[in-house]
Amino acid sequence: MTAGPLPGTRGAPGSDAPAVKCRALAKHYLRGDALVDCSFDVPAGCLAALVGPNGAGKSTFLRIAAGLTRPTSGYIEALGEPVLSGRTVPVRVGYVDQLRPLYRRLRVDEHLRMVAAMNQQWDQAMAVRLLRQLEVPLRARVGRLSVGQQAKVAVTLCLATRPELMLLDEPLASLDPVSRSMLMRALLAEVAETGTTVVLSSHIVSDLDPVCDHLVILRDGRAALSEPMDDVRSRHHLVVTDRGSEPPPGDVVAVERGARQARWMVRSDEPPADTSGGAAGVEVLRPSLEEIVVAYLTGRHTGSGGTDGDGEGAGRAGAGDPDLVIADKGERA
């Protein structure tokens, strides 16, 4: 029961290596490719959201990062050390599987004892306090708990080992709204003190909007975007023009043409000039996070290396990596 990592590292600017770094990561299965040339960084101390549709490779990525799955090719490191599946001991990396596997016939307190025995660090007091707070009965057999309570147990087991990096695969899926906010608040309260880096996957963007400070968008096994949430918000603009007008300046992530108007999701440091008062009628709006994510998930891909003309590439996925996937100026089919 030693103390966790030193506090105060959260979001420290220009600090050390990224908490997770992957380059050209690929995982091929017989039934298809889960990850294809996936490259991005997650800075240390942040709470990163990994979003993308089902089958985008979120779970595969998290399992690889946790050392459970062996990638077909590519490189990945967690907390500055290469991840080698099954060989290294991922002591400082906590992981909660999407399916939240627990021993159905064991009680909750027996799970605490078991996980305590398998870790050098274990905070029993915190685990008990958290489970009480989340209204999970300690003496209940896990098989009798609801799905939501099992998720709370799984996340608590992970938190109480005081990891420096937590990988949570869909921790909020299939939870009711009350449990969802309860678990999210508890999680935030715990990691806020310790500076733990959290990578959590979700396909519900609204859950992540207020809490996450880094966004990774996965699409078809590639990182379509990876950057701090503040940059995501400030650099994306929703430009509404006439249907037939030229694309606005900046990188077009996606365009949606209606009967009379075209709605452009544009990425640029400065917002395009809003001339909604004039004759040309260009209106610039602030998109919601959900709109930005959807734009990346629906915009057409250029494929590897196909950056836009000005080379200002959207999303610095994997700092300086040329194999960056972005949407091009083409229309949606």
Binding site: R63, A66, G67, L68, T69, R70, S85, G86, R87, T88, V89, P90, V91, V93, G94, Y95, D97, L99, P101, L102, Y103, R104, L106, E110, R113, M114, V115, A117, M118, N119, Q120, Q121, A154, L157, T161
Partner: protein, 312 residues
Amino acid sequence: MTWVSWRLHRTQLLIAGAFAVAVVGTMSATGTSGAWVQEDGLRAQVIVTLYALPVVAGIIMGTTVTARERERLTNRLAWTQGISRTRWLVSSLWPVALAGAVGVGAVSAVATWWVDAVHLGTRIQPTSFDISGVVPVAYFLGALALGVLAGSVLRNEGLAGAVAVVATVASRVVVGSDVRAHLAPVRHQALATAPPFDLGPIWSAVPGTATLQDSWVVAQGFVPVGRTSPVPGHPWLQVNVLYDRCPSVTQAAQVSRDWVRECAGSLHLHYVAAYQPLGHYWVLQLGEAGIFVAGAALAVGLAVLLLRRSSE
């Protein structure tokens, strides 16, 4: 970690323990009553239980360690804690292996007394040999390891168990029929007369075969006079061969011991039994136990390699 292993296998160990207590109780009753002839069915049940218990318990416990975890995905919980997969496997396994070995050893100790008490043939003869001494402990460890190995290849608990059963039975048959007889030097005895063959050879009807009656006869038949085993490359000739070679007899009903002796003599054959004497019991026991324990260690080693390489 010892507690973890105990907790995950508690039910199995308790059920296996209940079977062990029941079989020991039945052995105590039948072994001391002396009236075992009337309890032949009960005796058969005891023998079946003594054969099955180490193997079934070993395979169930072994597949629980690997296949069940992988089938229910709880290995994703176990393998993302602060211990390596190797340490996880070893620490999950040794408490079960130890508890099971102690239990099976205790039952076998009683069985070693029981096979004599109920006159089940001497200890070196196959049925008694398989359920007495130290080999049941080795069989348990072998089955446990094969369960672990099958479960590290196959993710389905039932399938892994079935494969482990087949592998265990196959290894038992091969070692029992082909290897065990050669773990100590085989002895030979030539008989003045062939035994009666009504229901296989009946040694008690042949003078001078007191040793053979207590021994495990591993091979027998007619061989050329002057030899104690067949010419290399040739089989032990059985009595039916004589029917073809001595045409004076055309019907099996006419076969008499005198005719057998005359026919064999005219062909320059005599009857020889190759056997392991009762005195070789512990040599064979330790040799066979060693084979299964070594096999178990090998299987667990292989399972460790496979699990370290396995990808979820």
